[in-house]
């Protein structure tokens, strides 16, 4: 009898939670809490900060409706700060770093009436918690577009006889050998290859998301190896600075580095998170559920490129990017195009099938077929990237990270 009563009670509680979630909240009662791993000195966190502020301005949220917590490590501290944000009256709590996820998830279980949203995470679609959500963007499309600019610059250098070696060579500074980074540099490489077919790329990893000294050293090492152009997926100014010092063109990430690198900055792709923050608030105000996995796209305004720096870019870059962008939007071009002859090959063979690790489990089992209809379906089965194929043309200089 006791058991049945407990069951009934918990059922009522559950229904209660769902109905609370579905209840509309007046916009003036919305309170958004944001947990950042670092502060504005990191280009990654700065990008989130700017996006939150942009969203708040667009929605007309007042100053005290947004609380930002900076420098929150990927530890129990994240859970503590998330609980503190709930105490402060936040009904949406957001965290920006991959390692925050398991701590945020724990707090989500404690407060079913509050929405917990996490960027770059992978657990929401398997945890099935109604108030825990993941989000990412199809940034591989942005990287691909930035790659177009890179390929055109290499063509220009080639035509002028200014290549350092025989073939155009790009260098890439990456943080970890993780799908997010692999998907990023591969799409960048493919963008360049689409306009400059004989391009090759070397990748140097730093083993850290933010290490200015290491990133600078990695970029300098790549330049010394004869790279004609550098791009990066790490969050400090290390690589762009090394490029500016050496006069090597740079494709940036997370935002424009034009101010510090006026002679070498070509273009930067970035995720604009403002559409996601606006989406969260709107759903909450309308009493509508928030998607378990939300993928921002070019269409939603989440995948954006900065203005092209005409002082460093090849002529016609902006127009070429705009054309390819339209093709991507129309669905006539795919970034991970496995059907095109010789475009994506692994050990010389075409890629016809690939099992990706989409569902997070302790053994990291590959569980989902990602290649179909002539392309690799990135960010479709969950928001965070899972493309981690080692394709031909890209050489990893150190892969122990």
């Amino acid at each position: 009898m006791k058991k049945i009563a407990a069951l009934l009670l918990s059922l009522i509680l559950c229904i209660g939670c769902v109905s609370v979630i579905a209840e509309p909240v007046a916009q003036e009662n919305i309170k958004l809490g944001v947990i950042l791993l670092h502060d504005e000195l990191s280009t990654y966190d700065l990008n989130f900060y700017n996006s939150v502020m942009e969203a708040a301005a667009n929605l007309g949220l007042s100053e005290d409706q947004v609380i930002v917590k900076r420098n929150i490590p990927e530890s129990e501290a994240c859970a503590e700060e998330a609980r503190d944000l709930v105490d402060e009256g936040c009904n949406i709590v957001f965290a920006d770093s991959f390692g925050h996820e398991s701590f945020l998830l724990e707090v989500a279980k404690e407060f079913p009436e509050v929405e917990f949203c996490h960027a770059t995470g992978t657990m929401a679609h398997t945890e099935n918690l109604p108030n825990f959500h993941n989000a990412f963007a199809s940034i591989y499309e942005g990287r691909y577009l930035a790659g177009i600019a890179a390929g055109m610059k290499l063509n220009e250098l080639k035509a002028a006889g200014k290549l350092k070696g025989e073939k155009p060579l790009m260098g890439y500074v990456g943080a970890f050998t993780y799908a997010e980074v692999i998907s990023g540099y591969t799409s960048f490489y493919l963008g360049a290859k689409a306009v400059c077919p004989d391009v090759e790329m070397k990748v140097q990893f730093t083993g850290s998301w933010y290490d200015e000294k290491e990133e600078k050293a990695a970029a300098e090492a790549l330049i010394a190896l004869g790279c004609d152009l550098i791009s990066q997926h790490a969050d400090s100014m290390g690589a762009p600075t090394a490029c500016e010092n050496a006069g090597i063109p740079n494709i940036s990430y997370n935002g424009s580095t034009l101010e510090s690198c006026p002679n070498t900055f070509i273009v930067s792709s970035r995720i604009n998170w403002a559409p996601y923050f606006e989406y969260l608030v709107r759903q909450k105000v309308a009493g509508e559920p928030i998607a378990t996995d939300w993928v921002g796209t070019i269409q939603t305004g989440s995948v954006v490129l900065t203005d092209v720096n005409t002082a460093a870019a090849a002529e016609g870059t902006a127009d070429a990017i705009a054309d390819v962008r339209d093709e991507l939007l129309a669905g006539v071009r795919h970034v991970f195009d496995t059907a095109a002859e010789g475009f994506i090959t692994v050990n010389g063979e075409a890629l016809t099938s690939y099992m990706a690790d989409v569902d997070t489990d302790e053994a990291f089992t590959a569980d989902t077929e990602a290649v179909s209809d002539g392309y690799f379906h990135e960010s479709e089965y969950r928001s965070a990237p899972y493309f981690n194929v080692a394709i031909d043309g890209i050489e990893l200089l150190n892969s122990k990270f």
Binding site: L41, V68, K69, E74, S75, D84, G99, Y178, G207, F364
Partner: protein, 372 residues
């Protein structure tokens, strides 16, 4: 000498002499005055740097209230402060036996981190495979062992070849950090080097998640106070610290005292590592100790190596930290400002110790006396 003096060699404007026997209340008055002066200067700096304050000086009240709100605003914040205090205190206590021996162990960061690593390694490989109680016990032992070994290595080199322990223990911090990076690459095949929170090996909850940690730190403080002040070991440590030759003369085996004390120092760091691993994070990053191993040096020094006083000094630092973080949040200013604020206040407090220990003599003061 008097002749040259008369010949007009200028006496320095200020000279110092050591001051002893300042009454208790007076030294504390100076400390409080320093804290107040530090807070005042902080307010001035914040006024210059924070736009919101310039626009509305009335908000200065909020600025100062944030120091209280940050640690005492809600019961959750009080517990967070007590927990942070306990962790910082434990590391500071761990350093203290070595410091009393004048062995400048600045490797607490690494010794604590390998403690975390040891505990998490046990949790990673054995979690869910053996009973929870046994798992926690093994995590505890692994943390103590790792911390102890990390403390022992520089001590062996010091005792055998008289290497510089400051450099040695400092370098061991980096080795510990890279060891953590190394294991994260092995443990996380997806390549993200981010280990999700482990399911097993959680320190039992008593009252709340933090109570046990606070209690352990309290017991540790009392235990170490007794050990240092009332045991033979404690006495030997003090003698070696005062003078190695005296220690040798009275027949103390200096080498053994160095080794034993550094093992103790490392083991206590390892214990803190266990508290972080099992009681809090249940994961590890290179930032798991987050610089507290270095802050602990200051905590121990400020407390004059007195364990009971360290409750105060570590509490002060954590309240300042939490207050500064609250300011960053309330005024929505960059994460660097809290560091500036805490830095200014600590500068004043450390500075006040100088005025407590030394007396300044000004030249004009002296001449006036001479006239009189």
């Amino acid at each position: 000498m008097a002749g040259t003096h008369a010949a007009g060699v200028r006496e320095p404007l200020v000279h110092l002499s050591r001051r002893t026997g300042m009454p208790f209340w007076k030294s504390w008055l100076i400390r409080l005055a320093a804290l107040a002066a530090g807070l005042l200067i902080c307010g001035a700096v914040a006024f210059i740097l924070i736009e919101k304050l310039r626009d509305d000086p009335g908000k200065l009240g909020d600025f100062y209230c944030a120091f209280i709100k940050g640690s005492f605003g809600t019961s959750r914040k009080v517990w967070k402060m007590l927990k942070n205090l306990a962790i910082l205190l434990s590391i500071s206590l761990a350093l203290t036996p070595a410091f009393r021996m004048r062995f400048w162990n600045i490797g607490a960061e690494g010794q604590t981190l390998v403690g975390v690593l040891g505990a998490i390694a046990v949790d990673f490989y054995l979690g869910g495979k053996i009973p929870e109680g046994l798992l926690i016990a093994l995590m505890f032992l692994a943390a103590l062992l790792c911390g102890g070994v990390w403390g022992l290595i520089p001590a062996v080199f010091k005792a055998k070849w008289n290497t510089n322990e400051t450099l040695f223990t400092l370098m061991m911090n980096y080795v510990a950090t890279f060891l953590v990076s190394y294991f994260l690459v092995i443990w996380v095949p997806s390549g993200s080097s981010s280990l999700a929170k482990l399911k097993y090996g959680k320190l039992p909850t008593l009252v709340n998640d933090y109570f046990l940690i606070v209690m352990i730190a309290l017991l540790l403080t009392i235990g170490l106070y007794i050990y240092l002040n009332y045991s033979k070991h404690g006495y030997e440590i003090s003698v070696v610290g005062e003078s190695v030759n005296t220690a040798k003369y009275v027949g103390i085996n200096v080498r053994r005292v160095i080794l034993r004390t550094m093992i103790l120092s490392g083991v206590l760091c390892g214990l803190t590592g266990f508290l972080i691993a099992s009681g809090l994070d249940r994961t590890i990053t290179t930032e798991s100790v987050g610089g507290q191993g270095f802050t602990a040096i200051m905590v121990s020094w400020l407390a004059n190596f007195n364990p009971l006083m360290m409750i105060l000094t570590s509490g002060l630092i954590q309240i300042l930290n939490q207050g500064a973080a609250q300011i960053s949040q309330d005024f929505n200013v960059s994460g660097a400002l809290p560091s500036v604020i805490v830095g200014i206040i600590l500068f004043f407090i450390i500075g006040s110790e100088f005025f407590i220990n030394y007396r300044l003599h000004f030249r004009h003061h002296k001449t006036r006396e001479a006239i009189r």
